[in-house]
């Protein structure tokens, strides 16, 4: 899915070849950025939850934005993962997300602030699973080369290892008082 940000128009996104039987097809999203973000978070969570163990039930996740200083989507996904762990729902593995941005000079910035995201050429968010450290979700906006994509992916993967360590430490601290 590719997204474009223009000054007078609301942000729009487009996905092609979504229908298999027709000759051509496309979905065009104009101004529904929140819905698109919701769908991303929902599909990321669906990948890690063992939904087959709970048929005919709904898992409702409510995300409240307290403060936004950049990297909002990855913060949302990390919060979701922690909440699902705390709820005790069966999960295949843990998930964490990292945002990277490519600035005008081509440097990669990890976990950018809102200003860095706006000034950059492209913003790329990756979600990783804890078992294989593989990518389970990617969303990008802006213009970037395939080499820049690979560099962002590598640096995000290294950062994800730190986040998983933090998850483990936080649960260790929480359960350390219980025998």
């Amino acid at each position: 899915m590719s997204c474009l940000k223009q000054s007078n128009l609301r942000g729009f996104a487009c996905e092609q070849s979504c229908l298999t039987r027709s000759d051509g097809s496309a979905t065009f999203n104009q101004g529904c950025k929140e819905k698109a973000t919701e769908q991303l978070i929902k599909s990321t969570c669906e990948t890690v939850l063992l939904v087959a163990l709970h048929p005919r039930t709904a898992v409702v996740i409510v995300l409240q934005e307290m403060q936004n200083t950049g990297s909002l989507l990855s913060c949302c996904i990390n919060a979701c993962c922690q909440a699902l762990m705390d709820a005790g729902i069966n999960m295949r593995c843990l998930v964490c997300a990292v945002t990277t941005t490519v600035d005008q000079e081509g440097h990669i910035i990890l976990d950018p602030t809102s200003k860095q995201e706006e000034d950059g050429k492209a913003v790329l968010t990756f979600a990783f699973d804890s078992k294989t450290n593989g990518v389970i979700m990617t969303t990008t906006s802006g213009i970037y080369s395939s080499q820049e994509y690979q560099e962002c992916l590598l640096s995000a993967q290294h950062a994800s290892a730190k986040i998983f360590e933090f998850y483990r430490d936080s649960i260790l601290k929480k359960l350390s008082r219980v025998s």
Partner: protein
């Protein structure tokens, strides 16, 4: 797998590669563990527990109850549909309780159960595909502590982890408090505790003590129970 017993595990941890051990090993996996191909993987974050000879499970501090067959639960009757009562046990679906599932119940002699009453029942049927079913008798037809709970009690909701802790430890906050205060208690595996004391003051004190004991060690629980008992009896 044996070296992780008593340690904290998180979803995605692989505990045992069954292919490595040739020969017959029989491992029973409980809640929080799943057989994933040739591995045993963890699906919930918590502490890995073990019971002889080969039963493993993860103790998780969760609040939402998932019905399991054989669990003793405390439910609240929400509706009466013909010969069946609908009971809320905190799961995603209300459970059904037939009027014949009580001690000495016949078609003429029905139990005196109304909407809003609390029942202490056992889960007869509980799987993900159908509605849970409760009974208030054991396989011999005796009630053995199950049945309608009197209206004078107080129903307390807490996490599943706390309830399991109370039932697992022989010496817990209930035994410490029971040395000085007289009370009746019914513990449901769905995170509900029914309490009955002589006075309102004692009920509040005991329910507060139970809730606070969740993340305390044994010594701290003893100290806290002593403080509660002292303040109830008038010594500050």
């Amino acid at each position: 797998m044996e070296d992780s017993i008593g340690k904290v595990v998180i979803p995605g941890d692989i505990l045992q590669n069954l292919d490595e051990k040739k020969g017959k090993i029989k491992v029973t996996v409980g809640p929080g563990l799943i057989r994933d191909g040739s591995h045993i993987a963890v699906t919930k974050s918590g502490i890995l527990r073990h019971r002889e000879p080969s039963v493993f499970w993860v103790d998780c501090h969760q609040k939402r109850y998932v019905p399991a067959r054989g669990d003793n639960v405390i439910g609240i009757v929400t509706a009466k549909q013909g010969d069946v009562f609908k009971v809320d046990i905190g799961s995603s679906e209300p459970a059904s309780l037939s009027f014949m599932a009580f001690e000495a119940a016949t078609k003429r002699n029905r139990p005196n159960l109304n909407v809003g009453d609390c029942v202490n029942a056992k889960l007869l049927v509980a799987n993900k595909d159908c509605e849970p079913e409760l009974v208030c008798i054991d396989s011999y037809g005796r009630s053995s502590g199950l049945g309608i709970l009197p209206n004078e009690g107080f129903l307390l909701q807490c996490s599943i982890g706390l309830v399991r802790q109370l039932l697992r430890n022989k010496f817990n906050v209930l035994t410490f408090l029971g040395k000085a205060i007289q009370y009746e208690v019914a513990i449901g595996m769905n995170g509900r505790i029914w309490l009955h004391c002589h006075t309102v003051r004692e009920t509040i004190a005991i329910s507060n003590a139970i809730c606070r004991s969740e993340l305390m060690s044994d010594e701290e629980v003893q100290i806290m129970s002593k403080k509660v008992v002292d303040s109830l009896q008038g010594f500050e």
